[in-house]
């Protein structure tokens, strides 16, 4: 069994400032995700947060990361461009990237997509139902026709992203909107999964089905190569005539 080394990155600000969020995630969103992943013997998950030196994402950490999870919301602008470039470079070399919820507006996701990654939103206790469009995809293993989040922030279309390579989930909201809530892309040699659940004021990451999807995504995004692309001058492979 191959071990997948995961780093769960979290902004970790809401949990410090908002009692409601702290009550839901006393160990931080990163802690809850890493703990759930670490229940599986093939996963070694550790964490990193914004306020650590280099945001906890040093070259050494990224060298030892197969798949990076990303949760950010109120402090996207505080993430240093140097670290963003380092993460992007590592994704292009093959590291998997799982972008969660408000991470849609993170520097790293927008840089890899090339688009605004804008959407419409509302905090109003909407019911959300995620429909599974790819029941044979590794990311949906163990998930049925749909899953429900009883109360959640609404994220609605138009989501400004490049056409997904695979559209895995579409969400229905009680307020009347829809959203492409699970999407995959490849950039360089790295696999990317955007998954919209996970607002900080709801216990979404404690849901066993959500945890299962995160586990599936980590396994799916695990790279088999590390390739540093360059722009080499090359000799002809055919002899000249």
């Amino acid at each position: 069994m191959n071990t997948t080394k995961v780093t769960v990155w979290n902004e970790f600000r809401h949990e410090k400032q908002n009692g409601k969020v702290q009550a839901i995630y006393p160990g931080g969103i990163h802690g809850a995700i890493a703990e759930a992943l670490n229940r599986n013997p093939d996963i070694e998950a550790r964490t990193a947060t914004l306020d650590e030196p280099e945001h906890g994402l040093t070259e050494a950490v990224l060298d030892q990361t197969d798949v990076l999870f990303w949760w950010g919301h109120m402090a996207h602008g505080e993430v240093s461009d140097t670290v963003v470039e380092r993460v992007q470079k590592r994704v292009l070399e093959g590291m998997g990237l799982i972008v969660l919820h408000s991470g849609h507006f993170s520097k790293i996701f927008r840089r890899l997509m090339g688009t605004n990654c804008s959407l419409s939103w509302r905090e109003n206790d909407d019911k959300e139902r995620l429909w599974n469009l790819q029941p044979g995809h590794p990311i949906t293993e163990g998930i049925g026709r749909y899953l429900e989040i009883p109360r959640h922030e609404m994220y609605g279309e138009r989501f400004d992203i490049p056409e997904p390579e695979k559209l895995i989930f579409i969400s229905w909201y009680s307020g009347g909107e829809v959203f492409r809530s699970g999407c995959t892309w490849q950039r360089g040699h790295g696999k990317i999964f955007y998954f919209s659940p996970g607002h900080e004021t709801y216990p979404v990451f404690h849901d066993p089905q959500i945890q299962r999807i995160l586990l599936n995504a980590a396994r799916w995004a695990r790279p088999t190569v590390r390739i540093v692309d360059a722009c080499p001058m090359v000799e002809p492979v055919e002899p000249s005539r």
Copy 2:
């Protein structure tokens, strides 16, 4: 007939420094392309270059640009990030973008693709033959099964780009390589076409078939909308229960 307003942007350095390039493009690469486009009554092409204030790409110029052509090579790093962000924003709002040859490594192309955009290369007078994979596409109107460039710089795979939405041309080289030489993508509301011909030491942009493809691409990339995306908080469209 709708007029398409084109701005042809050129780094315009090789032409000033290299007699061979100057002999081929006495009015600059930008001048040659704009002149060819302006032979068509539905096109109004002007030019902009690196050494002009704001690289000639002020807000006012971009406001009046439907389609931007981009040629750069030796001075990608001198293009200011402010201008790159301005161009990206305008593409996402709907402006078409035609990236030529060594523009594969420009800041604007790499930012829109999210990848390295690296490739292999060789200056060795290779013969290049571009095979037309999409004879019904607007970009290949008037082009037959293939076109040839008798001597050209070789650009070879692996080209580190997101999977093209449409692969229009694949090039064959006498030295033994292949290349995805014509590719389209959409980013935001803007259409993007990458077209690899056009090394500065060969008279590629004087070729009538190449000129025809550039004209076709300008017409194809012309936007019908200008939409500034935002991330609005919205009210439910369904009444609450």
Copy 3:
């Protein structure tokens, strides 16, 4: 202005057998669509139906058709394989094809997609809201953020189709489902648009916004080429060494 020659094909059985349908579409669904399209001077729409000889789709008719609309439901199995092959051949040569509603299960659509094209469904007066994901696409010209159908048959995921090249609309239903209700593909040289509205017991094709989308789709799908592909033995383009 280029004229687009449209043929609107309808099974035309419900209208003869069901008084409710007849009351909504006294001239048949085909008649309602053709009449709406013909209000535009650049469209010449005629009709064809199942019970005509060769289902009204002779070689001569298809020769003169730029874009074919297809509505069928209760009698897919009665469409002759010969006619289906003829239509498929013509699509691959460049003819546009607009498949409506229950046409998802037609022989021609399943043959072009290669998949089951199955879905879930319910006739229960659901409210349907179609979200516009591509406000810059020709098919959505004049359409806002969404459009609504007050009562309609529900079509739900999973819709068994190849990943759409562009996903234009996603539908929300009051009963809790979602659906990819507007999708485009290219097959051969022909453009295909599947659009799910249009159940026979609701006056959907009298809706001005729906009519606008059908008009847009006809203009979008209009071919500029007619190419008969073959499998030719060819001589080398390079001299032998």
Copy 4:
């Protein structure tokens, strides 16, 4: 380790009629491929051929097949439509399908693609060089920047296929052509890989690198689900208001 059950289907006519082909593949093309695959403990490969009852592809055989390989050339028309439908149904349920060389014109491949699958060709001992565009993809594990076939039939563009979901290989030919020689798609729940090498008069399937790609493809295409899609009438998931 999960076992992948492979069935290698071959038309098996050239080998009986042509001494040259018989000398290269004394046990048939199917035999050579199955033998190479069976050297790997996680693969159980058996064979089936055209002249067996039901072409060797009974319901029972397909029930026990994870991945089907397909080689056909001179007798595509003799494959019964019943068996083609059975294979298509099984692919849509999740079975992997690897289509080899002249199988591009088989009934099963054309039916799954929806297009002509036509191309240009020449038997002239061309050198073929396959460039690897996806060095991180499971199908190219162990394969370098390119592989060469010293003498092979030429297959050239335009290859009339739907845009591949991943373009894995592009071939260069000494006669001047290019070809998309390795392409993947998903149809229903099944993965499809088209791989163009393998003309019967060249010992291509004895090449260790080609064998490696076939092994990789078998592992990649192995399904994790078997889902029979239907078109169910469903109850609302939301309570009526």
